[in-house]
Symmetry: C2
Subunit: 139 residues, 2 copies
DNA sequence: TTGAATGCAAAAAATTTGCATATTG
DNA sequence: CAATATGCAAATTTTTTGCATTCAA
């Protein structure tokens, strides 16, 4: 996190209280929707943050590369720190359960995309939808 | 599509004009946001469909398994017919370009998830984010 | 006939924007 | 001091819901 602060400054981006609190919330939550981030910072002792600040901060941090997001469920974008242990999400379409596997599981796919398309994929936190053992059995 | 109609009836689901038009729009468009579907049906000669009907129909068709959706970009869910040629989407975080590769490219990953977690993944139309050759070169 | 879907209007969510003010570097 | 970010209010955009009416089977 110390380096995150460094990079923010290096990029001319300001290290404000709001951003520190949002980063702290993400660190603590792991993954969170903008709404969940708002709820989290609301309980850290500081004043509530308007949603505009939440959105703008997440965007800024994402542009910087320290935060990214995926769509785990139907509607909400889920943000997380890039430094957060990287894994892919196995989202069950039946019960909604979310399992994880190390991103390395996708290394062959990544290599293939690189080789055939010159595409440098970021499969960190990628969401893969399907059916978990239990729901699959029930079908 | 004939079988789609059959299955709809078999499931006790009704084959209405609205649904036929929405299916036709998806067939024609390939991928489309609810908004794009609305725009498409608005030009097929019939009356405009209220967004509530668009949403409810897409949900119903998705539940049936004939339609599914992914999140290609930041905000909009993109729907497509399950029968639509299956591929994974390579979405560039830089320029937004969307390339495709056959879903088979992910077969190793699918096998791994199956083997280690009993998870039956549907990688059809899965979105993979990253950087295309050009944007990567520009970084 | 009768349950399923539609259409419409209104409500609820989610996200974005403008602008004056406060803060950071 | 100058540029950047915040806070707040308002506007957009997107999605959902209730309910009377219509339609498919």
């Amino acid at each position: 996190m110390a380096d995150l602060i460094e990079v923010m400054r290096a990029k001319g981006m300001r290290v404000t209280a709001a951003r520190r609190r949002i980063i702290a919330a993400l660190t603590h939550l792991g993954h969170a929707t903008p709404d969940a981030v708002a709820a989290a910072v609301a309980t850290d002792g500081g004043p509530d943050l308007p949603s505009s600040t939440i959105y703008r901060s997440l965007d800024a941090l994402e542009e910087l590369g320290f935060v990214s997001h995926t769509h785990l469920d139907h509607r909400a974008p889920t943000y997380h720190l890039a430094a957060h242990a990287d894994h892919v999400h196995l989202v069950c379409l039946g019960c909604g359960a979310i399992d994880q596997m190390p991103s390395a599981a996708a290394q062959d796919l990544v290599a293939l995309m690189q080789r055939e398309r010159g595409f440098r994929a970021d499969v960190t936190h990628m969401a893969i939808h399907g059916w978990c053992v239990d729901c699959e059995a029930a079908r």
